[in-house]
């Protein structure tokens, strides 16, 4: 199917709405946004202090987001990437610069409702300046075929006292194949928090590799992963934190629930310390859904499947 630009725009909004999003957030005036279908920018808006530059490349775009020094962006910046046809490649090169003292929240939606043979790649470099705050919340909406590969890779550099929080959520539809790879370099007194919530079904394959290098004194980090697997889905999670500076503190927290006999979960927490005043901790829990949780909800009148559903939704909320 060939889409016109208008149809593409409306199609993206419809798909977003269908997935449970509020398309008004993508149409509201006075909010910075970028809507990209395949390699076409369908809509782009800036607000004072926020620069959004982009240019197409073969099978994707090159985009730059820059938040000027000291600018505190009132409303979240909305990013929307997607492919509506069943086949395609979307390759995003993304550079983010949040300058000193700036504060910004980004809400990103990635929409692939009809994917049968689709690849969505993102290569990002994210620089967060001194005392700057950057929150990036990415939600994926996939169809049920599982015919998609999602390959997000990022290098994140935090200056002194920078704050960075990344939340990645893929719980609707089938994951397909996910290869998530983030590398974070933390300066002194900075805070990095990585949260991933993923629901694997059918033959999904999930690979997560997150690494935080706590290079500055008193830098802090949390890697938190919540994964639920059913059917024949498989997941491998590597959460690595290096404590390389005095008083650096990091924690890796991974929970994977396996519902069924064929799904396979693997967690590899890696903690290393090269400074005797640093401290890194980890916890990983892999297993079936807690029977006592299920029975507690059944004792309130839910049947077993309803109880499992409540537990899974809670974990991935």
């Amino acid at each position: 199917m060939i889409y016109s630009v208008e149809k593409e725009y409306q199609g993206m909004l419809d798909a977003y709405e269908k997935a449970g999003g509020d398309s008004n957030s993508l149409k509201t005036e006075g909010m910075a946004k970028l809507i990209v279908h395949e390699n076409k920018v369908l809509s782009a808006d800036e607000v004072p202090g926020v620069r959004l530059k982009f240019k197409p490349k073969e099978n994707g775009i090159i985009a730059e987001l820059r938040v000027e020094e000291g600018v505190k962006v009132k409303n979240p910046i909305h990013l929307c990437f997607g492919i509506l046809p069943s086949e395609g490649l979307q390759d995003i090169t993304f550079r983010v610069d949040v300058l000193s003292g700036a504060e910004v929240k980004v809400v990103a939606h990635c929409i692939f409702p009809n994917a049968v043979h689709v690849i969505h790649k993102m290569d990002a470099v994210i620089n967060i300046g001194e005392n700057a705050i950057f929150s990036y919340n990415e939600t994926h909406y996939h169809g049920d075929s599982g015919g998609i590969e999602v390959i997000p890779k990022a290098k994140v550099i935090l200056a002194e006292k920078a704050f960075y929080k990344n939340t990645f959520s893929l719980v609707q539809g089938c994951v397909g194949k996910l290869d998530f790879d983030y590398d974070i370099y933390s300066g002194a007194n900075s805070v990095a928090e990585m949260v991933a919530k993923i629901y694997g079904k059918q033959d999904d394959y999930i690979k997560i590799n997150e690494k935080v290098n706590l290079n500055g004194e008193n830098a802090r980090s949390l890697i938190k992963t919540r994964i639920v697997l059913r059917d024949r889905a498989r997941a491998e999670v590597i959460g690595e934190t290096q404590g390389n500076a005095p008083y650096a503190r990091g924690h890796v927290d991974c929970t994977e629930l396996v519902n069924g006999t064929e799904a396979v979960a693997k967690a590899i927490p890696v903690v290393s310390v090269t400074n005797d005043k640093a401290k890194i901790t980890h916890e990983a829990a892999i297993g079936s859904i807690d029977r006592r949780q299920v029975e507690t909800l059944m004792a309130r009148g839910l049947d077993e499947n309803e109880a499992v559903d409540v537990i899974v939704k809670g974990l991935l909320r």
Partner: protein, 239 residues
């Protein structure tokens, strides 16, 4: 309401519940008093059907219907529910949602009322998750609130006082009495003779058997004299 006849259940060749007989009437608060390891929690599992416990002998009848073979959900839908001795944590499940699950079609005001009954402020607790950020005592009170919300015909309370601080205990006991006033029967299981003071009748359990039944005063006195000083924990001797 609840009749238990010659109930037996064992583990590793040993009878934990050994020919137990009891009856709980409608709206009655029935206390079971026993030391650790006497079969109190096993009894709750057998009535609720939790922990995969199934009687090896005898019958459990609820409103005349034998519970054998019924799932936990089926028992709950008949009007039986349980507050666990150690309530679970469920990450991401908000207190408000938990109480709404318990009280079908509950509005927000009813949910708030249930929390207030156990001394928890709705403005603080409604949006909290039932996870490790709550203390054991807080989870215990939320578990009680969920039973109040469910308004069961039979509430089984396993050690409702454990982990609850002293100032909060009267609130828990008041909520139990309120459940009874509203028509719920309550099976109140504890090792604390102070807690069973609100019961209409109390039985002393040891070795999976009822040793005596009487008023709270009678049984508490007997319990203190015979059980708390007894060296034969869970190995009853002829008195």
């Amino acid at each position: 309401m609840l009749s238990i006849e010659n109930l037996q259940w064992g583990l590793n060749g040993k009878l934990v519940i050994d020919g137990l007989n009891m009856h709980v009437g409608r709206g009655e608060i029935y206390g079971i008093l026993g030391e650790n390891g006497t079969g109190k929690t096993s009894l709750t599992h057998l009535i609720m059907g939790t922990n995969n416990y199934k009687p090896t002998g005898g019958d459990i009848l609820f409103e005349g219907q034998n519970l054998a073979g019924l799932s936990i959900s089926q028992r709950a839908r008949m009007g039986i529910s349980l507050a666990w001795q150690e309530p679970v944590r469920i990450e991401g499940l908000m207190v408000e949602d938990y109480l709404r699950i318990s009280g079908k079609n509950f509005g927000i005001e009813q949910v708030k009322h249930c929390l207030e009954m156990v001394g928890l402020s709705p403005s603080i607790y409604l949006s909290r998750d039932i996870d490790s950020t709550l203390s054991g005592g807080e989870r215990k009170r939320i578990e009680m609130a969920s039973l109040v919300a469910m308004h069961p015909k039979l509430a089984i309370l396993d050690e409702p006082d454990s982990g609850v601080d002293i100032p909060s205990l009267p609130l828990i006991l008041n909520s139990i009495m309120e459940m009874s006033r509203q028509g719920s029967s309550v099976l109140l299981i504890t090792h604390n003779e102070k807690v069973v003071e609100i019961a209409h009748r109390v039985s002393v359990l040891c070795g999976g058997k009822i040793f005596m039944t009487g008023t709270p005063a009678e049984t508490s006195h007997w319990f203190k004299d015979n059980c708390q000083t007894c060296p034969h924990i869970n190995e009853p001797v002829e008195l």
